[in-house]
Symmetry: C2
C-alpha cells in the first residue's frame, strides 16, 4: 500500500486508553480499505512520560494542529470529560471528519446533539468503547433494534463497584475495599463518579438510546450509589443465595415511557448479573422475538477499550472502502 | 412504498423455523431499503397443515417455481439436510440470488464451496441462524476476526444434550431424559445427531471457520456423545462443584493447526458454560486484544431461529439499499 491509501487518525488524549490505541496504530494495522497512520495527538502536558514512547513525535498541545490537518480522516477522542471534548468533536464533525470516542460522559450528555450533527454532515460518530469495553454492546443493540423490538436493556457495567463489592465479599469493609480498588488501578483518586452510580447512569443512558432510539437525560435516571452498603448487607445477600451488584436497568413501558435505574441490587447467584468480577461487565437485552441476549467480557482497561475503538475504526474503514472503490465491482454488477 | 420497492423472499422448507420466518414476513416487515414480500415456498407435502395457514397460497412442490421467479431477491433455506438443499442453494447463488440459511449440516459440509460460489457471483450467503439461534454469534465473530485475532472459540451449543443433562441432574436416567426431551419437542424421534455430538460438531466447524478463516472438515473434529453418561457421573460432577455439559471447543495452536473437540465435560458451576439450560446456548471467544467475549441466549426454536434469519435479511437489505441509492447522498459527497 502506498501512503495515499493510508487512513490518517488524529487523536485527542493519550492516557491509558489513548496510549493503547496509538500503540496498535503505530504497530501497523491494515484493513482492506487501507492502512491506519497516526497523525497528531492532542495532550495537555508534553513532558509527561507516554506509553508507547514512540508516540511522542505525534504529540501537540494545540487542538487545531490535530483538527486542521488536511489529511485527517478520523478523529479518536480519548480525553474524557464533557468539555472541551464536545467542542473538539463537534468541530471535527463539521469539518467532515469521522469521530470514534470512548467518552461515556460526552455521549451521555451530548449524544443527541452530536449524532444529529454527524447525520447532518454525513460522517460517522461511533462510541462502542463508551460502554462495556471490549464487549460489542453497541453494535449488537443497534442490529437488534433494527430488526426486532428491544423491550429491556441493562447490565453490570461499572468495574469499580464490581471490584469494591467483590472485595467486600472477601470481608473488606467498604472504605478499605475502595482503597484496594485505587491501588489496583480500578478506581480514581476521587471515586465518586463510580461509587455514586454516575458512570453507570452515563452508560445506561447510552444503552437506552441505542436500544430504544431516543436519548434520555442521564440525570433523570433513578440512581443510588454503593456507599451505604455494609458488610452486614453483603452477608445478608449471601445468606439468601445472592450477591449485591450495582445493576443498571432500563425498560420500555409503552411506546413512550422508559423507566431506568442504577443501584445496588440483590442478584441470585445463578443469574448472569452475578457473574462479573472486577473489570468484567455483562449486558443483557430482552427483545420481542430474539428473547434474552447476554453479552459479557472485559469492560474496562487499556487493551479492552482500545480494542473497541479499533473495531469502530474497522467499521468506518469498511464504509470508506465501499465508497472509494471506483468501478462497480462484481457484487454491484450482479445485483442491479 | 410501492410494490417495485419490495424485496421478494423465496423459501425452501416451511417447517417450524420456515413457518416462523414466513409468519414474520407475512405480518409485514419493512426496512429502510424496502418491504419484504413473500414469493414461492418449496415444501414436500402440500396437504400438511401449516403455521401460519395464510402461507398456503405460496406453497409449491416445484423448486424451479421458487428459484426461477424473476422477482426473487433472496432465498431463505430452512429445509435442513445437505441434499437437495446444497443443489438448490448453489443454483440460487449462480442465478445471482442472495441466500440466507439456518442449515448447519449444509454449511458445515459445504461451507467452503458455497461461500466460494457466493463470492464468485457477488451475492451474499448468510447463516447466522445455523449456530446459536437468536444469539448474534456469526456476526460478532466475523467482526472480531476482522479487527483482532481470535485464539479460541467454543461453547455449549446443543439444546437437546442440555435438556437431557439437566433432566439427569433432576435424577432422570439418560433414556428417560431423552424421552422427556422428545415429548418436550427438544429431541428428534431419532436423537442420534444430537446425542452423538454431530450437531455440535457441525456448529463448531462453522464457528471455527468464522473465527479462524479456514473451513475444517467437520468429520475431523474429535467427538464424543453423551450416551455413556450415567447418573453416577452427574452425581460425581455435582460433588466436585461441577455440572456435566456437552462442550464444543476449538483452539488455534499456531498459524496452521487447529484442535477441535466436542464432548461431555466437567464444567465448574460458576463457569459461563455451566449456565445454559434447555434451549439456551452460550458461546465464548477469546481474542488477543479483546480478551474473552461471552454471548448467550436462546439457541433453538421457532422464534429465536427465525429472528436470526430476519437479522441476516436486514443485513442484505442494508447492502441493497446502499447499492440502489442512485444519486450520491450527503454521506458520499462529504468523504471523497
Amino acid at each position: 500500500l502506498d501512503t495515499d491509501e493510508s487512513i490518517v487518525i488524529g487523536m485527542l488524549g493519550c492516557g491509558v486508553v489513548g496510549g493503547g490505541v496509538a500503540d496498535r496504530v503505530l504497530s501497523g494495522i491494515t484493513f482492506r480499505a487501507g492502512r491506519l497512520r497516526l497523525g497528531g495527538v492532542l495532550v495537555r502536558d508534553l513532558s509527561k512520560p507516554r506509553e508507547p514512547s514512540r508516540v511522542r513525535q505525534h504529540l501537540t498541545t494545540d487542538a487545531e494542529r490535530v483538527l486542521n490537518d488536511a489529511n485527517i480522516d478520523i478523529l479518536v477522542e480519548c480525553m474524557g470529560g464533557v468539555e472541551p471534548a464536545a467542542k473538539h468533536v463537534e468541530s471535527a464533525l463539521r469539518r467532515g471528519i469521522h469521530v470514534v470516542t470512548a467518552n461515556k460522559a460526552l455521549i451521555a450528555d451530548r449524544g443527541a446533539r452530536l449524532t444529529a450533527i454527524a447525520g447532518e454532515y454525513g460522517v460517522a460518530l461511533r462510541y462502542e468503547a463508551a460502554v462495556g469495553g471490549a464487549i460489542p454492546v453497541i453494535r449488537t443493540l443497534e442490529h437488534l433494534a433494527e430488526c426486532d423490538e428491544i423491550l429491556e436493556v441493562g447490565g453490570v457495567i461499572n468495574g469499580t463497584t464490581n471490584f469494591v463489592l467483590s472485595a467486600m465479599e472477601g470481608g473488606r469493609p467498604l472504605e478499605q475495599a475502595v482503597r484496594d480498588a485505587q491501588r489496583a488501578g480500578f478506581a480514581e483518586s476521587d471515586p465518586s463518579t463510580d461509587l455514586e452510580g454516575i458512570d453507570a447512569a452515563h452508560k445506561l443512558a447510552i444503552l437506552s438510546a441505542t436500544a430504544f432510539g431516543a436519548w434520555p437525560r442521564w440525570e433523570s435516571i433513578a440512581r443510588r450509589g454503593i456507599r451505604e452498603i455494609t458488610l452486614d448487607d453483603v452477608e445478608y445477600a449471601r445468606s439468601r443465595g445472592c450477591r449485591i451488584k450495582s445493576a443498571a436497568w432500563a425498560r420500555r413501558i409503552d411506546r413512550i415511557a422508559i423507566v431506568a435505574s442504577v443501584g445496588p441490587t440483590l442478584i441470585p447467584i445463578d443469574h448472569p448479573f452475578a457473574a462479573p468480577r472486577d473489570a468484567e461487565n455483562v449486558v443483557l437485552a430482552i427483545a420481542r422475538h430474539a428473547g434474552p441476549i447476554i453479552l459479557g467480557g472485559v469492560g474496562a482497561g487499556r487493551e479492552a477499550t482500545a480494542s473497541a475503538i479499533i473495531g469502530d475504526l474497522a467499521d468506518i474503514l469498511r464504509e470508506l472502502g465501499r465508497k472509494n472503490s471506483g468501478a462497480p465491482d462484481n457484487e454491484e454488477t450482479r445485483y442491479a
